[in-house]
């Protein structure tokens, strides 16, 4: 299956295979290809969802190479998803694909949007001009996909004569002539939403939207935690007493059960003690982090589906160029506030390796993931709002500095910006909720589960005294340089597994620490080691050397910045 970027290939793919390829309203959601099977008249067919591309003749990026390779593998048929909103470029790619001499079925997609915009395409004429079946479809609602299936069944196994290859100019001429014959009406866009991509009021609106996004993530997240999850876990009244019914709570129940089952102090410790994984293993991932996962992915998914993010990218492109990035790096960086792994994967859409490494480094170093942000909120926001805002400012300064420094030391030029801005679309609730659910499930499976295991391991090591011994070994750095108590080395060790585990244990040390010490801990946590899964992703996407380099850089920065703050603070409080 092939087509331009952002035309709904993944939606068609999901319809056919029942799988969940990620669907968004911007180019490059599918960066490698997805594979799935479905049935055509009793036969199982393997469907490969190629990344969206504009050309296969002049591969100049990863996606085009992936797509070209898929054609070279000689599939039995090509399902070409043709964008009704963008006939020209679609036809240009389609003609290139047809030159491969493989049976082709065309799905004329997004016909719903086509109609609502007053665009008219004569698909019968289009079919005649192209010489392959053309089926009008609306992929997101699954219309007429059965017709596509039927057309595919007739084309599969046909032999096609090789088509003579055309040069670019001749191909565009043919595109123009097909377009003239089939496109009956193309009304001028009214430009009503153009103000969103003008510097004024576009940039103030963009900043407002981003502030609103984070206010929503933090505010609604805190609300979810306070009024729904805490009462469920610790007991109390749901929704602040709105429902006059007191829930006994999960944790008191677990504690009573464990105490009833065993008097063994060690076993009790592992289960419900300091790092007791029946308590912390549930509280940390589900009460402290999950609320923000839910709100972040709800917010970002809405922005994605509306098609607003590329507009932010274009507005800020010039500014980001000054620090060696470009507008398109905004999307991976924003995704990084959710989770570093999809963020690093999505750097594949960036044009150069320089950009990719820069954005991946920034995401690993200075952008807290949603789990870590949830932890920061729990640690700082309730104690000192100023410290919480401070951490965010430090993070932004670090992004700019990291960009400037890396830009200086990388010889490669920042590639020029050339991108299509997708049409604004109203998000469809059914698609949106599926996507948010998918991402939450992903967090539970790949985020919360490793966290529970890490907490269980920590509980065991704590009871065995190993953590204490490790803490003593690290204590010159922790107590001497960072001015933190010896116990603080435990979160530093746990943080290697999951980023937020560098932060969460400090919450339980609340009585021992001053706000300055809290801030030191938060600084170290912000820059500290990205989690194990991120390091694995970095070495898979780039190289083990790059991953090791980023690991060293982040650890060094963490101790440097945290230590500098602690020492400066100590110096100042002595002189004052």
């Amino acid at each position: 299956m092939m087509g331009l970027p952002n035309v709904g290939k993944s939606a068609v793919f999901n319809r056919f295979t029942g799988l969940d390829a990620m669907v968004s309203n911007y180019s490059g959601t599918t960066v490698s290809y997805a594979e799935g099977t479905f049935d055509i008249e009793g036969e199982t067919v393997l469907l490969r969802d190629a990344p969206g591309i504009y050309n296969i003749k002049h591969p100049n990026d990863e996606a085009e190479r992936v797509a070209e390779k898929m054609l070279d593998d000689r599939p039995d048929a090509v399902l070409f998803v043709l964008d009704a909103l963008n006939l020209e470029s679609s036809l240009n790619l389609l003609l290139q694909v047809m030159e491969a001499g493989i049976p082709t079925v065309v799905a004329l997609n997004r016909t719903d949007l086509m109609r609502s915009r007053g665009i008219k395409i004569d698909h019968v004429r289009l079919q005649r001009a192209l010489g392959v079946p053309v089926v009008p479809t609306v992929a997101l609602s699954g219309d007429s996909l059965d017709l596509v299936r039927y057309a595919l069944s007739r084309e599969l196994g046909k032999t096609i004569e090789a088509v003579d290859k055309k040069d670019d100019a001749a191909r565009w001429e043919r595109v123009e002539s097909i377009k003239r014959a089939t496109l009956k009406a193309l009304p001028e866009s009214n430009g009503r939403m153009d103000f969103l991509i003008r510097p004024f009021p576009g940039i103030p609106i963009a900043l407002g939207v981003l502030v609103l996004l984070f206010a929503f993530v933090i505010g609604v997240g805190m609300g979810l935690r306070q009024y729904l999850l805490l009462p469920l876990f610790e007991g109390g009244q749901l929704f602040g007493g709105l429902i006059p019914f007191t829930i006994p709570g999960l944790f008191p129940f677990i504690e009573r059960s464990v105490e009833a089952l065993t008097d063994h102090a060690g076993l009790q410790g592992v289960l419900i003690g300091e790092y007791g994984f029946l308590i912390k293993g549930i509280e940390w991932p589900f009460a402290l982090v999950l609320p923000y996962v839910i709100t972040f992915y709800t917010g970002i998914s809405i922005l994605e589906d509306v098609g607003y993010l590329p507009r932010v990218a274009v507005l800020l492109d010039g500014v980001l160029k000054k620090i060696g990035l470009n507008g398109s790096s905004i999307i991976p960086m924003l995704l990084g506030y959710g989770c570093g792994i999809p963020a690093i994967m999505s750097t594949r859409t960036l044009q150069s390796r320089k950009q990719r490494i820069m954005v991946a480094t920034i995401v690993s170093l200075a952008i807290p993931c949603v789990a870590q942000m949830g932890a920061f909120i729990s640690l700082l926001a309730e104690r000192s709002l100023l410290a919480f805002i401070g951490i965010f400012l430090v993070s932004i300064v670090a992004i700019v500095l990291a960009g400037l420094v890396m830009d200086r030391y990388q010889k490669q030029k920042t590639p020029f910006t050339l991108m299509e801005i997708p049409p604004l679309l109203a998000p469809k609730p059914s698609i949106l909720s599926k996507k948010v659910l998918f991402r939450i499930k992903h967090f539970v499976r790949d985020g919360a589960m490793p966290m529970v295991i890490a907490i269980a391991a920590a509980a065991l090591l704590y009871e065995l005294g190993t953590l204490e011994a490790a803490g003593r070994a690290l204590s010159p750095v922790v107590t001497g340089w960072l001015n933190l108590p010896e116990e603080a080395s435990t979160p530093l060790l746990m943080g290697i597994v999951r980023r937020e585990l560098t932060v969460l244990p400090f919450i339980d040390m609340a009585d021992m620490l001053s706000t300055a010490q809290f801030f030191t801990a938060a600084l170290v946590a912000l820059f500290y080691v990205p989690c194990i899964a991120m390091i694995a992703t970095l070495s898979k996407e780039f190289s083990i050397r790059t991953a090791a380099g980023i690991l060293l850089l982040t650890t060094f920065t963490a101790f440097l910045v945290g230590g500098l703050f602690a020492q400066l603070h100590a110096l100042l409080s002595m002189t004052l």
């Binding site: 504009y54 915009r117 670019d168 009304p187 003008r198 510097p199 507005l315 010039g318 050339l418 801005i421």
Partner: protein, 88 residues
């Protein structure tokens, strides 16, 4: 007349031509000359195409053009290599 604009004669017709970044917001023009770059062609920036300038981004950011109902962001450096004319 703006300094970057010149006159070109094709088949006896005089065209005012200029670089695409000399357009002002809302102005309409036709592509007169464009470097051969497959992505430019695919985004609709081809000879004779009608373009409208939606905006110029700050800090020397990209031009945003409307071509055939699509919005395309175009780097300034690249834009300086594309010439337009005012009449079809």
């Amino acid at each position: 007349m703006e300094p970057r604009k010149t006159r070109t004669v094709i088949d006896g017709t005089i065209f005012k031509t200029g670089s695409i970044d000399s357009l002002v917001r809302g102005e309409v023009a036709f592509i007169h000359d464009v470097p051969s770059l497959s992505l430019l062609a695919s985004l609709g920036i081809r000879l004779g195409k009608r373009v409208r300038l939606i905006s110029k981004s700050v800090a020397n950011g990209p031009l945003i053009l409307s071509i055939d109902n699509r919005s395309v962001a175009l780097d300034r450096e690249l834009a300086s290599q594309i010439t337009i004319r005012k009449q079809r």
